[in-house]
Symmetry: C2
Subunit: 264 residues, 2 copies
């Protein structure tokens, strides 16, 4: 950050934007029985490699809904990540639905079968467990460092398990192979002013910095209240200058700005 | 539960099904900065009054996306609940988007204005704060027991704030006014068997009880692993009988069933 922030900001080059959608598949999330832990993790991980999560959906274990949703979002976003429904039981229908969405058959993947064979004792690898080696024709396996069942990738769709630590293990290994665009950087400034006190000037500031997204999030903790302003953009210098403008605004309105630094 | 569970289950009357979709509006959820806390709460609260959450979406603070999504889901589901984007700042665009989705103007609601007037000292109720009293024409206010900004309802769409404790306060007051259908009851049975060991017999059992949804969820904790089977349905007797069948299956396969009781 410099003291000589430009009065009229220079024009930034348009950022390279790569988008993603996450599909969380599972009745247990929609019933409220299980709280999803995967979305925030994937959101942060994708941002690390320059991919913007643009939408997430939680959908039930219903074939028609899964097929239609996958088919819609794989056309609208650069990447799609699904979680859930790839185990051995009757309610694990994600692999078949992905195959149907791509119009290809579900086939036994020889490498996935070998992985399962090394994991189970003779006689334990029954027909149900072998289902975990079935993938849509043309899919590539995603290495699973924790358990024996791999996820898989077909086209721009990455199919991950729902169990959080296993999902994380697979995603951590695959994320650096994803082709991202410009990474979104963020900075935040908090103060004890009310949102309504800041709103008019903040809106004017947002208009002046159209390429920096300014979000305003009130907080209430321990009887204390205030607002955190989050600035996000791909150009580090412009982000710094916009943050400086926000900080100056807070001071001008009698507030005490507290800065934070971050990504995402 | 009785010892005389029917061998051939009697036919259940078709349940009255009322559906809902939740829209979580906010860039901060998609960036991973904030973990959503509202979805699981709404899922459980809706189930309490006989409404089934069928889908949830997390969407960004972009007018076009909000308008299109609201317009799509309000036609597909009996109820729609949105969270986020109803504060006083430039990034709070939900009310305008809902108005656009319904094709009506955004108007100042006199009762909402009066609420704000009682809350703020003279001079503090500026134009930005007055925006919180703007609702789509024809909308009804939703009482807010915690802060001064009401949510609102128009048609089958209920618009709630994103701050969890305020959202909860409003929802708790409105939920008993919602017209639900048959409530989904649930029971669960856990055991230390592997999913693959149970899978084939469980699939057969699911076929025999088509109106009872049987979900299989593996767990891994403290080096321990096993599976929780969750049974859900609207007919208490049939649910009990199906649970008994699952319990018997676990015993037959050498497992030790541990029952839980619940809703949702």
């Amino acid at each position: 950050m410099t003291q000589s922030a430009p009065e009229t900001p220079r024009t930034a080059a348009p950022p390279r934007i790569v988008t993603a959608c996450v599909l969380i598949i599972g009745n247990e999330i929609l019933s409220g029985r299980t709280a999803d832990e995967n979305l925030a993790f994937l959101a942060r991980g994708l941002n690390e490699v320059g991919i913007r999560l643009r939408e997430a959906r939680v959908i039930p274990d219903l074939a028609e809904v899964i097929i239609d949703t996958v088919d819609e979002v794989r056309r609208r976003f650069d990447y799609v990540f699904t979680t859930g429904g790839i185990g051995p039981t009757h309610d694990d229908i994600t692999a078949q639905c992905i195959a149907d969405a791509f119009g290809v058959p579900l086939v036994l993947h020889p490498d996935a079968k070998r992985l399962l064979e090394t994991h189970y004792l003779p006689g334990q690898l029954n027909a149900a467990r072998l289902r975990m080696a079935m993938v849509p024709q043309g899919a590539a396996l995603l290495p699973n460092p924790i358990s024996r069942a791999p996820g898989f990738q077909i086209g721009n769709v990455y199919v991950l398990p729902g169990v959080p630590n296993i999902m994380r293990g697979i995603f951590e290994q695959l994320k650096y192979r994803l082709a991202g665009g410009d990474k979104v950087l963020s900075r935040s400034v908090s103060c004890a002013l009310g949102e309504g006190t800041l709103a008019a000037d903040l809106a004017a500031l947002q208009e002046r910095w159209p390429d920096i997204e300014i979000g305003s999030y009130p907080y209430f903790r321990r009887g204390d209240f205030g607002v955190t302003l989050v600035l996000r953009g791909t150009d580090r210098e412009r982000l710094a200058a916009a943050t400086e403008a926000v900080t100056a605004l807070i001071r001008a309105l009698g507030g005490e700005p507290q800065e934070g630094l971050g990504e995402g």
